[in-house]
């Protein structure tokens, strides 16, 4: 656990590296690029909850219901923000820190995330490692906050979350390593800027990343985002005691995480044709994100949640797929 805290310190170190990196390769990103990078962040901040809305709508369509409005996640967020938070007397500052650190982590992750072929705002040499560890830090604080409540139920969820993330993290890292190997760069901005040819190994990586995507975001074959008070749930059980603005932070960071990992998948799957105007690129990517949400919604409506002891098997399969792809490009 101490290791996880230590990993969080990668931030400032990375920051220093970034400054030197920018000084070295300063000529490449022009002033216009920077504006587009900021636009990308604004896009993510505004559109991330919409992805959840689309997923919910697709699920409703499959079930033959009208479903909640597309903007329901926004309504939920504003409702939660207007409420006041209730804190149990047994909790300490760790419990209050959890949601804020989580939101901070995804916001920083957003800064190193390239989108639609536009480099990220703070991209530097090896920011893919930072991205993975930011998610680890966020998970650590969510777990710590859950344990801080002293509830046995939340401790159970925390234990499951840590077990599954220990298996999904290697798969995510192997996918990113594959990308680093094929593009010859360790920076996310460079890795996702090059159009990737559709090869068998890329398909393996996309499937593995899709499994990781569903697991990391607590979607259906692993966890059901809609259930509460059920013995098989993982992520939702850890945030049961958060209320008001804190819960809004958690919901919002979950939406942003859905967006960030989705942008990774779309960035790998959608080949960017060069010499397209930037707004067309963005339209292409947003369409990709929309398609991804529809696919997630379809997976959730057609699949049942896995039995808990089968979940590690699926995650090991994801590790095997990404490991195989990595070995294939390594030779």
């Amino acid at each position: 656990m101490e290791g996880t805290v230590g990993r969080g310190c990668a931030g400032p170190v990375g920051g220093r590296q970034r400054v030197s990196e920018r000084a070295v390769g300063g000529g490449k990103p022009g002033a216009a690029m920077r504006v587009e990078s900021v636009i990308n962040i604004a896009l993510a901040l505004t559109l991330a909850p919409l992805m959840q809305g689309v997923i919910n709508r697709v699920k409703a369509l499959f079930a033959g219901r009208t479903g909640q409005p597309l903007l329901q996640p926004y309504f939920d967020l504003s409702r939660l923000l207007r409420k006041s938070a209730v804190f149990s007397t047994t909790t300490s500052w760790v419990f209050r820190a959890g949601p804020m650190v989580g939101l901070g982590c995804v916001l920083v992750a957003l800064c190193v995330l390239p989108f639609a072929g536009v480099p990220s705002v703070f991209g530097f040499g090896a920011d893919l490692i930072l991205l993975v560890y930011l998610f680890a830090l966020m998970r650590f604080f969510t777990v710590a906050a859950a344990l801080d409540t002293g509830s046995a139920f939340e401790g159970m969820g925390a234990s499951r979350e840590v077990l599954f993330s220990a298996l999904s993290e290697p798969a995510l890292l192997l996918c990113l390593l594959y990308l680093a190997r094929t593009t010859g760069s360790l920076s996310l901005s460079d890795m996702l800027a090059q159009p990737s040819a559709i090869t068998p190994s890329l398909i393996l990586v996309l499937v593995a990343l899709g499994i990781v995507y569903l697991c990391e975001n607590a979607r259906i074959p692993f966890d059901d985002p809609n259930t509460h008070l059920e013995l098989t749930m993982i992520h939702e059980v850890m945030v049961l005691d958060h209320s008001g603005p804190d819960f809004a932070f958690i919901q919002y960071s979950a939406a942003l995480k859905l967006w960030i990992l989705g942008a990774l998948i779309v960035g790998m799957a959608v080949p960017i044709p060069p010499a397209l105007p930037w707004w067309l690129n963005h339209a292409l990517y947003l369409a990709g994100m929309f398609a991804l949400s529809v696919v997630v919604g379809m997976v959730e409506s057609t699949m049942a949640r896995l039995r808990l002891n089968r979940v590690p098997q699926l995650l090991v399969a994801a590790c095997a797929l990404s490991g195989l792809a990595f070995v294939l490009v390594l030779r």
Binding site: Q313, V316, A317, L324, V327
Partner: protein, 214 residues
Amino acid sequence: MNSLSDTAMILMILSDLALLGMGVLGMHIRIIAVQGWVLGAFTLLVQHAHLTPRVAAIALVSVAVKGALYPYLLRRSVQESEAVRESKPYVGYNTSVTAGLVMVIISLWLGVRLPFAAAVDTPLVVASSLVTMFTGLALAVTRRKALTQCIGYIVFENGIYIFGMAIVGEIPMLVELGLLLDAFVAVLVMGVAIYRINRQFDHMDADELRSLRG
């Protein structure tokens, strides 16, 4: 080599990993059938430059036997024995898949370094044949059910087939037919044996056979 046969080899490796990671017998049989079809396609792909009627006949026979006949016979024995899935393998599924992945790395390493690699266009072929053989061996050694062990035997034969097809080019038809016949007899014998074991002991768990000792 063209990327199509590379894709076929990746499919072989993937199906091997799936065999190692799964315990449902019906799924195993389906994967065996897929391997048979992939092998038939691979035969045509690897020999597409000089496609003789003989090569076509080998491909056809291998698809017919491995893609249709074996699955049919195996499925029948499954129905007779009423077993659905592998019970408690000696080595767990996750460990098996990890071992398979390590084997992929070792065989890719070997595929580049073995002296005959010059004759093969891609080390992936050697690698996938070695991985397939390893998978067959692992299935035969680490699983309890007689049926899975039989499937391991067939998978092992598939590995030898890839090896021969890629390294020797045109293996003598007679050798290939002999191999096929061997595996065929094995499946038949297994089928009968499974039936007998099953009728005698109400299951086909090979581990329990030691109670036969006097």
